[in-house]
């Protein structure tokens, strides 16, 4: 099995390089969602993606989750309010921040940075922390998990102790399947994969 896996992996690397070299549009593949492709910008990207090595997300501001949770805000209050309703949890915009920070801590440098962003009509370009690669063919939906009373921390770790959100839970297939088994949730392939 190991031999086969290694062969497939090396073939992936070679194949991706060939695709990237042979097709001018392949380079844009990661940025364009209009086109279904598994190709990567470079061999290095392909290799990192294949081994699950993703660059650490760089967020527009070092948002202190723990400060906000300590003040009694919950995840779903303003920032991730769609989590109970649909697949996407939702991300706060500068407007969301300014609901409170118009008045609260308005003199702090970070808050002023956000205030300026709003004045200049710019918004926060958050980067993805969790999520699945295209090849995983997984479409995750938050809402049914929240409805089944799965804690946010089950998949996202203890955010109350983090500043910017960090990826510290390995959302492997085994992780999902085990939890589904324990909770008697459906485990058919198509439950998660498309």
């Amino acid at each position: 099995m190991t031999g086969v896996a290694a062969a497939v992996r090396s073939a992936v690397l070679v194949g991706c390089a060939a695709a990237a070299a042979g097709c001018g549009r392949a380079g844009d593949a990661q940025t364009s969602s209009a086109i279904f492709t598994t190709a990567h910008r470079s061999v290095g990207d392909a290799a990192r993606d294949f081994f699950g090595m993703r660059p650490k997300p760089v967020q527009p501001i070092p948002f202190p989750h723990k400060t906000h949770i300590a003040k009694g805000l919950t995840c779903t209050d303003y920032c991730h309010e769609s989590v109970t309703k649909g697949p996407v949890a939702g991300l706060p915009s500068v407007k969301t921040c300014m609901i409170c920070h118009d008045a609260i801590a308005a003199d702090r440098p970070l808050i002023q940075q956000i205030t300026n962003m709003q004045k200049n009509g710019r918004d926060l370009g958050w980067q993805r922390v969790y999520g699945y690669t295209q090849q995983a063919h997984v479409r995750f939906n938050h809402a049914p998990h929240i409805r089944a009373n799965v804690e946010c921390a089950t998949c996202h770790g203890n955010i109350a102790q983090q500043t910017v959100a960090e990826r510290n839970v390995d959302l492997s297939m085994g992780f999902c399947v085990n939890c589904h088994k324990q909770r008697n949730a459906p485990n058919e392939c198509v439950t998660c994969h498309f």
């Binding site: 497939v8 073939a11 992936v12 194949g15 991706c16 060939a18 695709a19 990237a20 042979g22 097709c23 001018g24 549009r25 392949a26 593949a29 969602s33 209009a34 086109i35 279904f36 492709t37 598994t38 190709a39 303003y78 309010e81 769609s82 309703k85 649909g86 697949p87 996407v88 939702g90 991300l91 706060p92 915009s93 500068v94 407007k95 969301t96 918004d123 926060l124 370009g125 958050w126 980067q127 993805r128 090849q135 063919h137 809402a143 409805r147 008697n184 459906p186």
Partner: protein, 734 residues
């Protein structure tokens, strides 16, 4: 190649990257809906109603700021608006209970579709050429008013024909009031996969002219005759929820499920037992089961009560339907019939479901009555785990009729199209296209130019469901009477107007004005819904109607049971069996249903659940038959009936009887946006104009065909995965 290999191969070779540069839509994922992932902002969730079928599922719509292409004052531009981004099932809705089917999910593409009609238009080129020039709303409305005035001046008000898409909604009441006031006949509905045969049967058997609701969650045994109840039939989301509970909610009891149909549907693929049966003999099998239950004294014949009366020989124990006879008629081994009867009687509660192709035969009413009688015999009517009828919203009228039109004798002087597409959804033999071409004036309210509205002289485009007041009156799928009504969730993107409001305006502008009691559609809605329900609906998009009654047969009076049974018990087919050796089975597509959603690219690119085909038409052929005729997967095949020929690639399947040829309905539009125009073929075009004997409904499954290999594969069969294989299975008869 199976799915796993496909994924590996694309990873290895970067095939898809190469394909992406070819420019064919089938190699792309087409979105054109504002992004909803990784977008900062606060979302508002607003209620709405799914417009894509009659099930009446409630929606909750994610609305956020987004840049959208809009038309304002005749100017196109990009404006930041509060835009709908994602549809979900409304949580706690009595019918869909938070779920939504793929068609519902894709409905959002209606609003953002690049080929949507953005403003009123007048025909410019020849009729049917699809060339239109924009006009102002005032001019468009004046044009319609003057055409109607001309009709009225000539005393030809009765020559106005209003064709509407199948929907059950209070919106129909505005149309009905307008037509009545003008002096025109009631609106007609074109509904290819209509259920009028079943409604009629239910009126006869149970006194309720209505589609049934099933308590699958509490059933222990379900036998379905041709009904694709997990895919396309009746209220699929509600039925899926119930089915899931039946199979998995109780860790100790897993309900048994038997599907009887000659071609394995998505529903059949879920069954414990799939029983292929000769088309049109489903009723005989149901009576064969009833015979054994009565003969073995498992239930007395009179337990069926009123529902047994329309069946000849019921009280005598149905002696004509002994297992040996049933084997001969239906092609189901006698031993298997015996085993099924035992299971139905042992596993309580048990319920039988009938719908789809078996009722689209010349003996459809007989089949429906037979299954109804079986249900009554099993004691499953109005019982937990059985079949019941949703209390109907007594405050709503069923205004629109499904009136079969005689197209040859069509004498209409003016035609108003409200989302109906009869040119596509009718057999070629009805000559609908020719009849429509002869109508002097045609106006369309639809949002898209389709096969029929391509002939329009004037287009007054409606809002989409997200931009307007929308409502529906569900007929089945819940235990309580439900009304769905919701306001617009976003501002209209384009210069469109709500059709009911346009009708109200036109009514007032006629030379002899039609007095309608409302100024706007929402005023009409508010006035017709009880106060408490209205305030509930404002919050959640639906409400329960508390004082609901059971709907009875057509009028307030129950239909009396018929003393004698139906005359037509055996099916007849168009086409001589020697010349046309195969039964032809067009079926409702999971993605396109009757073809009305073929213009939505998310549905075009969705692999069919069984074949994994996308963006294409195909012909399902039994593997043995294909081998005999030297037809390989993807080869082009001519399917010929007495009415004509269609050519499509072959899909070789183990899940279809050797003498049946099946094709999905939905593709083959002449005109229907850039995504569906001239893509694939329309199997309905070669269906013979045979009708169900007692109701006059189109018997779309009563045509025979022959097939011939035309040429080798040309790549038009686009599969996501690979072929279907039959796996070794245990001995069929235990």
């Amino acid at each position: 190649m199976d799915r796993r290999d496909f994924i590996k191969l694309t990873a290895i070779t970067g095939t898809s990257a190469t394909l992406a540069s070819c420019g064919n839509p089938e190699h792309q994922l087409i979105r054109f809906v504002p992004d909803d992932e990784l977008v900062p902002g606060v979302a508002e969730w607003k209620p709405s109603v799914c417009p894509l079928c009659r099930a009446g599922c409630g929606l909750t719509v994610r609305v956020m700021e987004a840049d959208a292409d809009v038309v304002r004052n005749g100017q196109a531009g990009v404006v930041r608006i509060a835009a709908a981004k994602k549809l979900e099932g409304a949580p706690n809705h009595p019918i869909n209970q938070g779920g939504l089917c793929p068609r519902g999910q894709a409905a959002i593409q209606l609003t953002y579709h690049p080929d949507r009609i953005t403003q009123p238009m007048k025909r410019r080129g020849a009729r049917g050429a699809g060339e239109f020039a924009p006009v102002a709303w005032d001019d468009a409305i004046n044009e319609l008013v003057s055409q109607l005035d001309r009709l009225a001046a000539a005393g030809e008000q009765s020559q106005l024909l209003y064709l509407t898409a199948p929907r059950a909604a209070r919106r129909d009441a505005v149309v009905a009031a307008f037509l009545k006031g003008f002096g025109a006949p009631a609106a007609s509905t074109i509904e290819l996969f209509g259920d009028d045969v079943l409604r009629r049967a239910n009126a006869i058997s149970f006194g309720r002219e209505q589609l049934p609701t099933f308590d699958l969650a509490r059933s222990r045994c379900v036998i379905a005759f041709g009904a694709d109840f997990l895919g396309t039939w009746n209220s699929p989301v509600a039925q899926n929820a119930g089915y899931g509970a039946m199979r998995q909610a109780n860790p100790h009891v897993r309900g048994t499920f038997v599907q009887v149909e000659p071609r394995m549907s998505q529903t059949g693929a879920n069954a414990d037992q799939w029983v292929p049966v000769k088309p049109g003999t489903e009723g005989a099998l149901a009576l064969g089961l009833a015979h054994l239950i009565i003969a073995n004294k498992l239930r007395p014949a009179d337990a069926a009560g009123r529902a047994g009366q329309p069946i000849d020989g019921w009280s005598a124990g149905l002696t004509d339907y002994a297992p040996v006879q049933v084997e001969k008629t239906c092609g189901v081994p006698a031993k298997r019939v015996e085993r099924l009867a035992r299971e139905l009687a042992d596993l309580k509660p048990a319920v039988a479901i009938v719908g789809g192709a078996p009722l689209a035969q010349t003996n459809g009413l007989f089949t429906a009555l037979a299954v109804n009688a079986l249900n009554a015999l099993l004691g499953s009517v109005d019982q937990p785990g059985g079949v019941s009828f949703m209390p109907s919203d007594s405050t709503a009228d069923r205004a629109a009729q499904t009136r079969p039109l005689d197209w040859q004798k069509l004498s209409a002087k003016a035609l108003l199209l409200d989302g109906a597409n009869p040119v596509f959804a009718s057999p070629r033999a009805w000559r609908v296209r020719e009849a429509i071409e002869n109508v002097p004036f045609i106006a369309s309210f639809g949002s898209f130019v389709d096969d029929t509205s391509a002939f329009a002289d004037l287009i007054l485009p409606d809002h989409t469901f997200l931009e307007t007041w929308t409502d529906s009156v569900p007929e089945s799928g819940a235990g309580v009477a439900v009304v769905n009504v919701a306001g617009p969730v976003m501002r209209p993107l384009h210069q469109t107007r709500a059709t009911p409001d346009v009708l109200i305006e036109v009514a007032g502008k006629l030379k002899k004005p039609v007095a309608l009691p409302w100024k706007t559609f929402d005023e009409m809605l508010k006035g017709s819904i009880p106060e408490q329900a209205w305030s509930d609906a404002e919050k959640q998009g639906w409400a329960e109607i508390k004082d609901a009654r059971q709907r009875t047969g057509g009028s307030a009076k129950a239909v009396p049971p018929r003393a004698s049974g139906t005359r037509v018990t055996t099916p007849t087919f168009d086409g001589d069996a020697a010349q046309y050796p195969f039964y032809f089975l067009p079926y409702a597509s999971q993605a396109f249903f009757d073809g009305s959603s073929a213009h939505l690219p998310w549905l075009q690119e969705m692999p069919d659940p069984l074949t994994s085909a996308m963006w294409s038409s195909w012909v399902e052929i039994n593997a043995g038959t294909a081998a005999k005729m030297n037809i390989a997967q993807g080869d082009l095949v001519d399917v010929t009936s007495s009415q004509g020929t269609v050519r499509a690639p072959a899909f070789v399947s183990p899940g279809i009887a050797p003498d049946v040829i099946a094709m999905p309905v939905g593709q083959g539009h002449e005109t229907f946006t850039r995504y569906a125009s001239k893509r694939g073929v329309n199997p309905i075009s070669i269906v013979a104009p045979v009708t169900e004997a007692e109701t006059g409904a189109l018997a779309w499954a009563a045509t025979r065909v022959k097939i011939a290999r035309a040429s080798k594969a040309d790549g038009s069969l686009i599969l996501f995965a690979g072929e279907m294989r039959e796996r070794p299975h245990e001995e069929e008869i235990r």
